[in-house]
């Protein structure tokens, strides 16, 4: 379990996060949504240990700040929105980048086939399409934490707007792989932009606004007309597809609150 209490982050003089509470459970996809500048990415950076924050964060019961970097790298991996590489690495070498201390060709190969790219080993990364690049990066982070869970506890996959630059087919592909990781016992924390994909794939949603939590809970409890309208400062109406998956269409928005 990942537990965060009273997370406060200052960047310069500005307070980016205000006493945020956040919980992610293994076996679930926990999403964070909110308007631009609401602090989503800052929260992710605090949860992954990338930036200092006030408050308390624990991963699998251990205090985040006390876990050495190399050990943390075996417990959680982070998939960024997109990754450009300056050097001509091929696909299998990119996956090996995730295994700096314990290189293993079979492990890299397995991760590659898990994202459906078996046979791509020798392809130059720089020449892949956006969707292929993102799947290779997903293979890299999956190889880094080698499996959703083991005797030391669940592993954690952090996704930072993983599908914002992809077409709908690739969006579904990446999100399904994340869902599978959670179904197999791992934990997924996803910073999301698209409310409909969030509704489809999440067990828990945290809605941020101006660095504070506006609401959190199951999708049907967080993606409501009133909460979303307050979060995004425009009147939004939530619809439902059977069986009770919320969706939000821009067409349903009114002109003013």
């Amino acid at each position: 379990m990942i537990k965060a209490r009273n997370i406060t982050v200052h960047l310069g003089k500005r307070q980016i996060l205000k006493e945020i509470g956040f919980i992610a459970r293994p076996g679930q996809v926990s999403s964070v949504v909110g308007p631009n500048g609401s602090g989503k990415t800052t929260l992710l950076r605090a949860l992954t240990g990338e930036i200092e924050c006030n408050g308390e964060i624990t991963v699998n019961g251990r205090v985040l700040r006390q876990i050495p970097h190399w050990q943390l790298a075996g417990m959680r991996a982070v998939l960024p929105q997109s990754t450009a590489l300056a050097f001509p690495f091929n696909v299998i070498e990119v996956i090996h980048l995730g295994l700096p201390a314990r290189r293993s060709y079979p492990l890299a190969l397995e991760a590659l086939s898990r994202v459906g790219l078996a046979g791509y080993e020798q392809r130059p990364y720089q020449e892949l399409s956006g969707g292929e690049k993102q799947r290779v990066q997903l293979a890299r982070v999956l190889a880094q934490i080698s499996g959703p869970t083991d005797q030391t506890g669940p592993r954690w996959l952090f996704l930072d707007e993983p599908v914002s630059a992809l077409d709908i087919g690739h969006q579904l592909q990446i999100m399904r792989l994340a869902r599978e990781f959670a179904n197999a016992g791992g934990g997924v924390v996803a910073i999301m932009h698209d409310l409909n994909l969030t509704a489809m794939f999440s067990d828990q949603i945290t809605l941020l606004k101006d660095g504070a939590v506006l609401g959190s809970g199951r999708p049907e409890d967080t993606l409501t007309d009133s909460l979303l309208s307050r979060a995004y400062d425009c009147p939004l109406r939530v619809g439902f597809t059977p069986p009770q998956v919320p969706f939000v269409l821009p067409q349903s928005a009114g002109k003013s609150l």
Partner: protein, 348 residues
């Protein structure tokens, strides 16, 4: 076992080939020069225990051997500095020349040549022939430290800030160097010109010792940064996420580059393009994995510089063409070729 895409064996074989190449080039460098001495005969005679013909032995032992050793150290340092810089900045076009380190070293050397006469006699005598190398070395260090202080805030080094500050610093160092040249007398101007074009000609045993004392630790340290540099290819956040101690890798890489470049500029002046050409060629052959790129760059850089030095010695013998001209004539077009090849990829 067949491992498609795994280029590590190819890189190892390449390393072996480069080691053999370096050995051949060293022999070539020892046996070639303006005076026709029979090196093989000298060594054979020395092994037989015969007294050496003094003139030939002096040429070999006091001119060619130190010169060759200096060439190896300078070539390896320049190529490894280039590879480190490129890995650190995640930019295949980065080079110690770009962030103002070479300019800083140059200002130190020029200042020593022009103002050296104003130093108190005692200090000048103590420094003697080391004055220019020491000044160049401190010039490189100071510019490195200054850049680092400017570009680092709250423990994080901004690469963009460092590149831009480097441009400003290089311009400033260039201006001060210009002022020095302006007040220099004719004899000093001649010294400056030759130092600036670069040459291994002044290599002596004390210089060799100075160079190796500074460069060896820097090159050895670089070998321990290879995993970190691979990780940095993912960006600083990405490197942190896979468990790389990012700040430590960056500081060590900066120190290594400062030491290696400072020492190289000090003993040989302005020799350009080795730091860009060598790593780029190696990436084409065996990929960008720094675990192999760094040691192979040292080997190829050393070979390349020795070949350039031999060319500089024989092309206009008995006169000597400055080696910086050779590397620029070979490296300039190569650099343009890299740019043209990457025109589609580079977004500049």
């Amino acid at each position: 076992m067949d491992r498609p895409g795994d280029r590590s064996n190819r890189a190892r074989v390449l390393g072996l080939c480069l080691a053999v190449l370096l050995a051949l080039v060293v022999v070539f460098s020892l046996t070639t020069g303006a005076s026709g001495i029979d090196t093989a005969e000298i060594i054979a005679g020395w092994l037989r225990g015969e007294p050496m013909a003094s003139r030939d032995a002096v040429i070999l032992w006091h001119i060619r051997v130190p010169r060759t050793l200096t060439g190896i150290a300078v070539g390896a340092s320049l190529a490894v500095s280039g590879a480190l810089m490129q890995g650190l900045f995640r930019n295949p076009l980065a080079d110690p020349g770009i962030i103002g380190v070479s300019a800083g070293a140059g200002l130190g050397a020029i200042g020593a040549i022009v103002l050296g006469g104003m130093l108190p006699v005692l200090l000048r005598d103590a420094a003697s022939i080391y004055l220019v190398p020491i000044a160049a070395f401190f010039g490189a260090w100071l510019s490195m430290l200054l850049l680092y202080r400017i570009a680092t805030r709250q423990g994080r080094t901004s690469v963009a800030m460092m590149l831009l500050a480097g441009i400003a610093l290089a311009a400033l160092a260039g201006a001060f160097s210009g002022m020095m040249i302006f007040i220099a007398d004719d004899a000093q101007l001649r010294d400056l010109t030759f130092w600036g074009l670069g040459s291994l000609g002044g290599a002596t045993w004390p210089k060799v010792a100075t160079a190796y004392v500074i460069m060896t630790p820097a090159l050895v340290c670089a070998l321990f940064l290879t995993r970190g540099l691979n990780g940095l290819a993912l960006g600083e956040a990405g490197a942190f996420h896979i468990g790389i101690p990012v700040q430590r890798v960056k500081i060590l890489a900066i120190l290594c580059v400062g030491a290696a470049t400072g020492a190289a500029v000090a003993v040989s002046g302005g020799i350009g393009f080795v730091g860009i050409v060598v790593p780029h060629l190696l990436r084409l052959i065996s990929g960008p994995d720094h675990r192999f790129l760094i040691p192979n760059a040292a080997l190829l850089g050393a070979s390349l510089l020795l070949v350039a030095d031999v060319i500089s010695r024989v092309i206009m013998a008995p006169a000597e063409l400055p080696i910086g001209i050779i590397t620029a004539v070979l490296g300039g077009p190569f650099f343009l070729w890299i740019l043209l090849r990457q025109r589609g990829v580079l977004d500049m």
